[in-house]
């Protein structure tokens, strides 16, 4: 689904990603873990196309298209979805209006007709159930006055509505209590399929108890330095990152 080769990216002249290579095939969930400042959120931002970051080297193939050539909105329309670590509030704009605009822009890009109001509302009802989101929240302004948990659930609701090929969850577990965590994780699991892929960025192994990854990667100092099965997450939880750092410095 996505093949990242030797990706270098910097912000304000400071290099954060230093030759990152990663491949996530369709049908799989990959977790990216790593200490603070390793470049996890930068990776999410660069893939989504945030303009503050400059890609200086490397390539990203997204399901056959050169991702780095696409504008931010076209990446989304090609099927990339970022669940934000800090979802943004848009006062006065209802969630449904926001999502309907997004969905129709994506449909138009793919040469499909706009969705009818009736079909859209049916979809809202169906998808909000996946993350047990109160349908009333769908008509409230985007993230405005939402609790931390509601904001994260809303991200997954939006993901369900837009049906992306690749979803990147950027620390979706941060700020969630255990019940909310389970609901969000269940939502993600229900949306897993053979046709899509998921990258889960997290600090803690806890989330991976609920979303079982196919591969766990360790991101350190701008590169993937270790990859392994789901047990790697447990090992990290137990031993911390110091041994990884020591290993790297030894090289």
């Amino acid at each position: 689904m996505i093949t990242i080769k030797n990706l270098h990216a910097s912000i304000d002249g400071k290099e954060i990603l230093k030759g990152l290579t990663l491949e996530v095939p369709a049908g799989q969930v990959h977790a990216i873990m790593g200490p603070n400042g390793a470049g996890k959120s930068t990776l999410a931002s660069v893939l989504a196309g945030r303009e503050d970051y400059e890609v200086t080297e490397g390539s990203v193939d997204f399901d056959g298209v050169d991702l780095l050539e696409l504008s931010t909105e076209d990446r989304a329309r090609e099927g990339m979805f970022l669940a934000f670590q800090y979802p943004v509030e848009i006062p006065g704009v209802s969630n449904v209006n926001f999502l309907r605009t997004a969905l129709n822009e994506i449909r138009e890009y793919r040469g499909k007709e706009a969705i009818s109001a009736k079909d859209f509302m049916a979809m809202v009802r169906e998808k909000s159930a996946i993350v047990e989101l109160d349908p009333k929240l769908a008509s409230r302004a985007v993230n405005e006055g939402f609790s931390g948990g509601e904001k994260k659930r809303n991200e997954i609701f939006q993901m369900a509505m837009l049906e992306p090929k690749l979803a990147i969850l950027d620390e979706t577990d941060s700020g969630l209590d255990i019940d909310a965590l389970r609901i969000v994780a269940n939502g993600v699991n229900k949306l897993r399929s053979e046709k899509n892929a998921t990258i889960v960025i997290t600090h803690y192994q806890r989330l991976l108890d609920y979303i079982i990854p196919d591969v766990v990667h360790v991101l350190y100092n701008g590169r993937i330095v270790k990859s392994g099965p789901k047990e790697l997450a447990l090992e990290l939880e137990e031993k911390g990152y110091d041994w990884i750092k020591a290993e790297q410095e030894a090289k």
Binding site: R75, F84, V88, I90, P91, G92, A102
Partner: protein, 481 residues
Amino acid sequence: MGYTENELAKDLENQEYKFGFVTNIESDKAPKGLNEGIIRFISAKKEEPEWMLDFRLKAFVLWKEMTEPEWAHVHYEKPHFQDITYYSAPKQSKKYESWDDVDPEMKETMAKLGISMEEQQRLTGVAVDFVMDSVSVATSFKSKLAELGIIFCSFSEAVKDHPELVRKYMGSVVPVTDNFYAALNSAVFTDGSFCYIPKGVRCPMELSTYFRINEGGTGQFERTLVVADQGAYVSYLEGCTAPQRDENQLHAAVVELIALDDAEIKYSTVQNWYPGDKEGKGGIYNFVTKRGVCERNAKIAWTQVETGSAVTWKYPSCVLKGDNSIGEFYSVAVTNNYQQADTGTKMIHLGKNTKSTIISKGISAGKSQNSYRGLVQIHKSADNARNFSQCDSLLMTDECGAHTFPYIECKNSSAKIEHEATTSKIGEDQIFYCLQRGISEEKAISLIVNGYCKEVLNQLPMEFAVEAQKLLAISLEGSVG
């Protein structure tokens, strides 16, 4: 990264003013300049009675003694009052009997404005009193309104047919001496609209006037008088567009609203006059005096969406004279390029238990300057008066300015006054969030701005709200920087 913000901004800068076209209709106009003779000419042209001419001449004498106000936060070259044509009427041998008789070119003009009368009549049930330059061209639904005793006509017709009402109320809210431009208007106004809703009548449709400045160098001096008798209700819509011009055009209107006991007037404006080009050349000077007076239990609500004009100077106000009366002001003022706006409201609390609400949303883009200026005045007699003011400013670029000048004068200790103000810059985070969901930047800005203005847009009648949303989008496309 494809189409960038800057490229988009450039494209939009190059967009011509959408309504910039000139109708080629021979006009019957006065020589340039202003003197007693011109005023007599206007009055004679309009076949006015003696009392009307007296009113004008008195105003002219007073005006000559007055000086132009300079306190507003705007800078512009003062109009040359002797260089303006004060009367210009489309040359028509007679008034139209029906819509079919209307000059096709004039119809086309209206079609370009997107307000074909036929369509308006058929689809929206809105009665339109269309003012082209200074003379009313067509008035519709008149007979239907007449059944209810509602008078909705041009100001000149009212002067002829309802002199008792005009004499009683004209100048009662905005006296001739009120200010420089109100005095000028009183001397030279050419036409406008008049509306009277009799006791206890609820006007069944939105009354609407489309103003339009057509003749190059013609000053437009409209006068509107709306009277809602006891227990009456009316919703009045005013919409404006003007063709593109190089020289600045002066517009100095006077609007007076009178809401008698238990009456309610909603006055909504969508204003989209030519704002000048991107270098700040041309555009309309909009110096307007709008004020309403509320008697006992009466209510006046002003709603305005202002996107046009080079310089705007406008404070729709409410005098809350009667006990328990209510004044409301909802405003969206957008400025782009070199536009300047100094706008707000005055809420004058005289009666007991009077309430006022002010919601002002300023949006500044380009190199524009956008000021809110408001006065909340609680008089000694106004026991338990309440005011809530909220003034928000949204900045689209680093080069524009937003200013807030709230004045509060309170002479009664039982009053409750709340004032909230915020200034924010349109968030790059918000735009990125929208882009990441597949929404284009243009649509994102439109969504965010419409969300920001929602409290005001919600006050507008449906069709008007749709038009206002489109206008906001057109005015602000690609203006984030």
